[in-house]
Symmetry: C2
């Protein structure tokens, strides 16, 4: 239902299409922009156009990249024998924050999800297999999300990769550090038990 003057309603409609922005937020953001200094609103519009024009996908790992290759693929200091497979570019940021990983990445750009109609062919799996074949990779770490889609994707990839004679690993599931046994859900606690380690000493 269009209730505002044309351009305002058009703006509310466009904002309402963004993920996590409901009709109320769209309206709130639209009025914020109408009240904002013209240069502030202009900067947002320009940032959108800029990002779309200048950013695309790294042709090697499918992370976001300003040129042909992303920052991680360009970096000569990273370990070529390791590939960490993630669902989305933002997952790379999460792994980088640990400062524990110095290998390469591969972004699937999603996870297998029959409900959303996403099969292996929509993901960058073929490209991963080509990389594993050609780049002297020794270990592939499957760092897809520990949910149904991510687990299914990891299982699927493991079946494809293991016959190629390399080490295929999966990130651990368990209780978050600082977490509380009492408040853990049973699936997480089950995983924590399953993945238990022998203590030294």
């Amino acid at each position: 239902m269009a209730v505002y003057e044309g351009p305002v309603q058009a703006l509310i409609d466009e904002l309402g299409r963004l993920p996590g922005v409901g009709p109320k937020s769209a309206q709130r953001i639209a009025f914020y922009l109408l009240k904002a200094a013209p240069e502030d609103a202009k900067r947002l519009a320009t940032a959108i156009v800029d990002a779309k024009e200048r950013v695309s996908w790294c042709r090697r790992c499918f992370n976001i990249a300003e040129g042909e290759l992303c920052a991680f693929c360009r970096d000569p200091g990273r370990d070529d024998t390791l590939i960490c497979v993630v669902e989305e570019p933002r997952d790379i940021v999460a792994v980088e924050r640990t400062q524990e990983y110095k290998g390469r990445y591969h972004v699937l750009q999603g996870a297998i999800s029959p409900i959303e109609g996403i099969g292996p062919d929509q993901l960058r799996i073929r490209e991963l297999l080509l990389r594993v074949d050609g780049e002297g990779v020794q270990e592939v770490i499957l760092a897809t999300n520990p949910n149904i889609e991510g687990e299914a994707t990891a299982m699927y990839l493991a079946r494809l990769l293991k016959p190629l004679g390399l080490r295929v690993t999966r990130i651990a599931s368990g209780l978050p550090v600082g977490g509380d046994l009492e408040y853990a859900d049973e699936i997480t606690l089950g995983r924590a038990l399953e993945g238990r380690r022998t203590l030294d000493g």
Copy 2:
């Protein structure tokens, strides 16, 4: 902390300035836009620029308007003797939804809030007084929000308007229709008692 390629981080930063959009949502929206069809992203950018260029404030009531006057001020069928005073343009939409009001509006563009440094001078109060003086107004309905700032603003306006010899009214506070006494907060319930009406029959 800039963690993405320049244009992507710039987009995340700009999105993060919007009201109700935290760092996580900004990132989510940015990646959504990067994955979206170029024309979809372009449409949002254009909608922002368009709204800023074509929409300004009605010079009579300070609602949003595409031309000099807003749709309500242009409408010859509305009652000139009544002005409903609201804080924001979106409040007009809420009042219109009731289909009970056929008078004019006046948008203050905010409410008195010492905490946010907003005093009467930042609001369109002077313009309201000029309208009340010149347009044959008989009743001013104060429909600012029933919260601290809105109440203070209504009290302030009532004191200015009453000496001018017109009827000044305030919208009722009370329990929402369909609401439950048990779950009402004590202030709302207090207001509901205070504003009780005699039943006919």
